[in-house]
Symmetry: C2
Subunit: 599 residues, 2 copies
């Protein structure tokens, strides 16, 4: 079995539970059909398994080194990237007009997911570059695009996002990097950026930094932030590389996981000129940067999901091949040992992983499909509805997998026991890698404030109303299968409770108190949405059991069991969490910093 993808499940989600078939009938995606997409997946799987996966452990144990102001990376990384580029995969995420494959984004997510699962650190470079190119394409001037877009799309240059500074992580209002306008329309940048993934590397000839900075004299806070394109090496008019910009690698951060991708502290313009170019208008920087934020946050969620999928597949395979112990009702030591996958608690840990990973994966594809559908639909009202829904789902896409797919990775270690705790097996590395996802691209707490403080309240709660309509449509579809009726009732009750909770929060005048349990709300709402995703899968499984291939019976039975697991074992937790939020519980909010220790 593959350790990076479950192809049967991909087909199930895309064609049985979701609607890729229909997307492929549109003019926009008419180059593709299920067979050609299958062939692309074949190609991706083989490159990911042959070039990305084998060096993942070595890269983790031999992270890039800071040598004489530059970075040294093990050669396997460049080789893997070359294989990826040679197969044309660097262009998977772009439209045809800029040289891309113009794949549905859900397909792009799935194919990139294989590389994430195989070797997430390498993929971090690729993911950032795609974000930078798309941002440039959306917001940049024609000249900037002419000069920079081609090599980014081709994967010849990589990109970075430079937001945080040592004194300003989540609080972008407080960034200090300065961009002074020059006579020729360019800007001179000075400042220090922290946590810059891929900020320096030895993999590409140039690095294109997207930098948030302030133009002197602009408004205070986030309203005075502008976005700049700052190349590591300046680019001549003919596209050739010129002088180096003054960007100094001040240090590498040594992470717990995702060690293979550099994470840097960069000094801009400290010892010479660092020239950048405005992207979009002055003071629109945050909006321009956030232009791609829904996609970026779904990709972070996807990375959490795929990191957990790796642990799930590995631990399942291990459990089915590791003999240890005997059934509780017959422990006769003369009998051979059974595979540990026969033990109930191992099954519970595997099932928990399955329910979390496949539930979250379904949400990622569902959300990606929204983006694809908007691109082919002329129905403006429906597009607006779906935009609002996606805005609401985005913090869940980012955070729920960051929490529960990390939990899945924890369980993968437990299935392997002592072996799982050693670096000789991949599951501990995946666990370390996954711990990152709650932190970058907006922390867990920030996502909580986003959903409860903004998203559920925007346009008088329109997004939540749309979500309920969509959930209701699923419940209506489920009514064809009587064995699903209990889930529908539970889902309705949970969303009723969510609406009551939101009403309690909105009715509270003390904004700090109202949002004090926002993270817990996010967690509970995520559970409700994942339960909805499982109901969608259960409907498709029921259909499959009725009409599908007899050889798929076990597959569908597993889907129904996971649905049952999620509704019985998990959803009740969401309900108890919602009670705390609805009560406007002030236990933590009231506490002073001194009271923790009494000093």
């Amino acid at each position: 079995m593959s350790m990076i993808v479950n192809r049967r499940d991909l087909d199930f989600m895309f064609y049985e539970a979701l609607d890729l078939d229909n997307l492929l009938k549109s003019a926009r995606y008419s180059d593709y059909d299920p067979e050609s997409i299958d062939a692309i997946f074949d190609l991706c799987q083989s490159i990911a398994e042959e070039e990305f996966l084998p060096c993942a452990g070595k890269l983790d144990a031999n992270e890039p080194q800071f040598v004489d102001g530059a970075v040294e990376t093990i050669p396997e990384v460049k080789q893997a990237i070359n294989a990826f580029k040679d197969a044309g995969l660097a262009t998977s995420g772009y439209d045809a007009d800029i040289g891309g494959m113009q794949l549905p984004w859900m397909v792009d997510q799935a194919l990139n997911g294989m590389f994430v699962c195989a070797n997430n650190p390498i993929h971090i470079y690729l993911f950032l570059t795609q974000g930078v190119a798309n941002m440039l394409n959306a917001c940049g001037s024609a000249e900037l695009k002419e000069q920079y877009l081609g090599p980014l799309v081709a994967g010849d240059w990589f990109g970075t996002m430079c937001l945080s500074e040592p004194q300003a992580g989540s609080s972008l209002a407080d960034i200090r990097t300065k961009a002074e306008p020059m006579a020729d329309g360019s800007y001179k940048l000075t400042g220090t950026k922290m946590w810059i993934s891929g900020g320096e590397q030895d993999l590409t000839d140039n690095i294109i930094h997207m930098v948030l900075a302030k133009v002197p004299g602009g408004p205070a806070g986030v309203r005075g932030i502008s976005l700049f394109l700052v190349p590591k090496v300046r680019v001549n008019a003919d596209g050739s590389l010129g002088e180096r910009n003054n960007i100094a690698l001040a240090g590498l951060n040594h992470k717990m996981g995702c060690r293979g991708a550099t994470n840097t502290l960069l000094n801009f313009g400290e010892g010479g000129d660092c020239i950048g170019y405005l992207v979009g208008n002055e003071n629109d920087g945050l909006a321009n940067m956030f232009h791609m934020m829904n996609e970026a946050r779904i990709s972070v969620g996807m990375s959490a999901v795929m990191t957990a999928l790796g642990g799930y597949l590995y631990s399942l395979d291990y459990a089915r091949n590791r003999p240890q112990g005997r059934p509780l009702d017959n422990k006769n030591p003369d009998l051979p040992q059974v595979m540990i996958s026969e033990h109930a608690d191992i099954k519970r840990m595997l099932m928990t992983q399955k329910a979390f990973v496949e539930g979250a994966q379904m949400l990622m594809y569902y959300s990606s499909q929204i983006i694809d559908q908007q691109k082919i639909s002329q129905d403006k009202r429906q597009n607006q509805r779906m935009s609002l829904l996606l805005d609401l789902l985005t913090p869940i896409c980012k955070s729920w997998p960051s929490e529960y797919c990390l939990e899945a990775n924890k369980l993968a270690i437990q299935v392997l026991g002592g072996y799982g705790y050693t670096r000789e097996y991949p599951v501990e590395r995946l666990y370390r890698d996954n711990r990152l996802n709650h932190i970058h691209e907006g922390t867990w707490g920030i996502q909580g404030l986003d959903i409860l403080g903004r998203k559920v309240q925007m346009h008088n709660g329109a997004a939540v109303a749309i979500l309920r309509e969509e959930v209701q449509a699923t419940i209506d579809a489920a009514s064809a299968y009587s064995q699903l009726s209990g889930y529908s009732e539970q889902l309705t009750a949970t969303f009723d409770q969510i609406e009551q909770t939101i009403a309690a929060v909105v009715g509270c005048d003390n904004k700090g108190l109202a949002l004090a349990n926002a993270t817990i709300f996010l967690d509970a709402m995520g559970h409700a949405v994942i339960a909805w995703m499982w109901l969608k899968q259960a409907i498709a499984a029921c259909k499959g059991l009725n009409d599908g291939d007899a050889g798929d019976k076990d597959f569908y039975a597993g889907k129904l069991a996971a649905t049952q697991f999620f509704f019985r074992y998990e959803i009740p937790k969401a309900c108890t969490n919602l009670e705390v939020v609805a009560d406007l519980d002030s236990t933590c909010f009231d506490l002073t910093a001194q009271q923790f220790l009494g000093q």
Copy 2:
């Protein structure tokens, strides 16, 4: 503030919430009073802070190396151990008759806890040695004790526990290591042992292995296991070191955390004679090894607690000194940033850590106190009651901190954000270290089967009845404070539900199904017990607010807030978990290994 201990809290638990004062009045502990114990804690704190803590990061980054068949460890480790020994602390865990300090075990746990928190890997050697010496003292012959006990107690030699083998981890029935009786009464051992912490090191002149092995011709399974003392270097009659036993270091396991302590694969007698000595009787090996299991498992729980305490203290200190962002109701960027400890979600993460760490720490001291009380009490009936109670609490002591104190470490990382994810800060190391505790000394799943399959059922449920009596005594004491009445009611309801759940399990004839959710039961029962521990602390806090020092007001307020947090945010989760167990939910149990993927 100290990063390894909260001395005010130690005093609170020992003298206000528990009964150390009373213990110290007994003849057995008459050498000590609160002042002398305070002085011992001062000494321990300074050695732990000066010798153990400063090299913890370096040891993690420079784990012991396997060089030419031997181990090389950074010199700071030996230096720290010398400081520990020079202060006489190696003898803290033993009675005076064998040269020990004869401290109450709860005090021994607390003082060792400081070293665990400062540098757990070094402490692993010390903890194992104490276990081996106590086992030898309890089960060994006079000759063996004469020869081996002294250097172990002095900390001149270290000890190991050799249970697992590559093909037999949790399933000891399947060990294959053989011990053949020799004419002189000794045994010749052959076999391979896996996961042996401290199995080889360069810190002591000798290593005393306690090895489980089978004497040929004995009963199959666990009933044919015997315990042997096997020295790395044989000991001459005069106590001097003789020839080396044939024990080969076949490899070091490279762990995710606790990297500073070696973990080894050992071959016994593969290329020459490996002589061992029977401890206790043939075929009593498991019972002899398990003689110390309650203590060992409490110590594992303690290690989980102290590892989390390190994260809690560090992240609290960070949060109180890191400016970032502004209050939700006034985000004016011209105002200075506030400390992140002012943000509600940071408070939630700190409070969760406090509730988990201090709740679990209280349980460790409470359980340790039971052991101390048994040693000074002549009341046989009460001692039997307390023995049963301790048997019941032991799997909780082992597992609840392994789960929830790891969760606390996860939150400590989140409080620090990106910084927390780097190896430049200690919180990620503590998180990695703590992931071990669910695995060794009996996995999570094993503990679940232990509590639900054995402990709650033994003697017709006598242990649960005793637990309820003790809980009721706490509830009775709480009745003096009206603000605690809600907690008492909640605790009663939770324990009622636990009893109903046990009845449902006991009434099920299918043993496999009955125990299918044992781990979840363990989790829920742990929550109930920790809630009880918080009620105990709340009573002491109410007392303190009424009668105590005015300067302690914040301290007591924090204790009451943590109690409120645990009852409001956590206990409801236990109740939903118990429902799954009581329903005999078969979702996971029914699943076949093929159904996970459909292949």
